[in-house]
Symmetry: C2
Subunit: 293 residues, 2 copies
């Protein structure tokens, strides 16, 4: 019963995010097929975990989630651009994403590169549009640019490209993933706290929660790549092995990977000890750990 309430709340929050993203898209890129290409990937569904994390972190830190909506959109725009560029022939060369042809398969490589560049740039514009103080907005820009840039997500992707075809140690793989996916998930939680005007201690706590959540999410992703069917996942399974990608499953085996997801989820939940209204984010961590797609 309680589970249903959280599930419904998640869906309602997703719907609010979809609406806000649609408004963002409406503002940008009237030229050639650029807007259509950005919209194709941005509105392709997905779990919207990062923007939901922004909004719920904001709520938990005592803020009004509505004020954090531009921050939530910005994070999802960054995430979407990274998928578009990662799928390019020069990168992972993927033809399917969420069960649909990838951006460059539909719009061509040039437009896909530009759609990514456009979403990345527009994300920072979205941050400036929040109805918050200038200090909060500039803190958000600093936080998101650090997480998404050469010292964060882009750095992780560069490590990933360089590491293909050779075996990584566990600590190398953990560093790679903490940059490639963890940094942006942590930034999402921090952005919510910034929007709420939270304390440095709150920001540190939600960051720790999100870091553990992000790591658990990545390990679970690696597990699903070998245990799920193509149809469940919306993309070809087994692709990690085929590309000789370094994964937690290839490094630790399936059983140890499953234990790791549980451990990390418990750590994520523990990080929220100091918050009175943490129930939704606790549920989210547990739910993501048990997901099958």
């Amino acid at each position: 019963m309680e589970q249903d309430v959280f599930r419904l709340h998640y869906e309602a929050t997703q719907a609010r995010v979809e609406e806000a993203l649609r408004e963002q898209i409406g503002r940008m890129g009237r030229y050639a097929d650029l807007r259509e290409a950005m919209e194709y990937s941005l509105m392709a569904g997905g779990k919207r975990i990062r923007p939901v994390l922004v909004l719920e972190s904001c709520r938990m830190c005592g803020g009004d989630p509505e004020t954090a909506l531009p921050f939530a959109c910005a994070v999802e725009m960054i995430h979407t651009y990274s998928l578009i560029h990662d799928d390019l022939p020069a990168m992972d060369d993927d033809e399917l994403r969420r069960g649909r042809p990838t951006n460059h398969m539909v719009y061509g490589e040039a437009t896909a590169i530009l759609a990514g560049d456009g979403l990345l740039t527009a994300a920072f514009q979205a941050l400036t549009q929040a109805d918050l103080t200038a200090q909060q907005r500039v803190d958000a820009v600093a936080c998101l640019s650090l997480a998404a840039g050469p010292e964060g997500m882009v750095g992780g992707q560069a490590m990933d490209m360089a590491g293909e075809g050779r075996s990584l140690t566990r600590s190398e793989l953990e560093q790679l993933q903490s940059l490639k996916t963890g940094a942006l998930i942590a930034a999402a939680a921090e952005l919510g706290c910034i929007a709420a005007g939270g304390s440095p201690e709150q920001r540190e706590a939600v960051r720790r929660y999100a870091q553990c959540l992000g790591r658990a999410f990545q390990v679970q992703d690696d597990i699903l790549d070998v245990t799920s069917t193509d149809e469940e996942l919306g993309k070809p399974t087994g692709s990690d092995r085929e590309k000789e990608k370094n994964t937690f499953v290839s490094l630790l085996g399936l059983e140890r990977s499953r234990e790791l997801v549980e451990e990390l989820t418990a750590q994520a939940v523990a990080a929220l000890d100091g918050f009175s209204s943490r129930d939704f984010l606790v549920w989210l961590a547990n739910t993501l750990a048990q997901r099958t797609k």
Copy 2:
């Protein structure tokens, strides 16, 4: 004699920009060959017109150029990322830039894409690091993201890609160029004014100056592509015609294009009427109009 003074000042300002860019690079991207790839293109010289424009616009509006240095770096990082992505095989497919192999020729396509993404993201981080008020920094993020994004530079590049192989009208070409190159040059001048705490009227005036300067610069670029030698230009001349690029020369002819450069330069200079210390930027407009490379 006076010309020499301005020339020396330009060179000193360029040197200050180089130094600040090197500091920026030192902060980012320790992973794989990402920093090296970003540095390769960012430190490849060039005229540094945009960052010089930031600093000199700041000075003319009554500010201290030193405070505008992070803004100047940010604009040059955006400009550099756009060159890296524009040169990619899926875009203009250029092998030479400023007399050296393009980024992807040296580091491969994947790293070149990531180096561009990294510079674009780090540019916004640089804006947040300026020793200015939060309001000034957030104004700078809003200004630069608008100019560089889907409604500005990226939109222009999308138009350019879509227009290849067919003839554009003059007004289409002007719109394309005002987005593709003009928006960022205008933003450079505006960022200087923001750093100086200039008035809305000052901001509008420097914007008009830079828009005219940017248009003149582009027309002159088109002229040099047909009149210069490969060696002078540091890249193959005649490449516009070879790729059936729409240029002002192909549209208006050489003589009318030269007149247009003069007209636009005069308009740029006229926009500065209200400023007492406008001499350097007047010289800059005239010097760029007469450049041979």
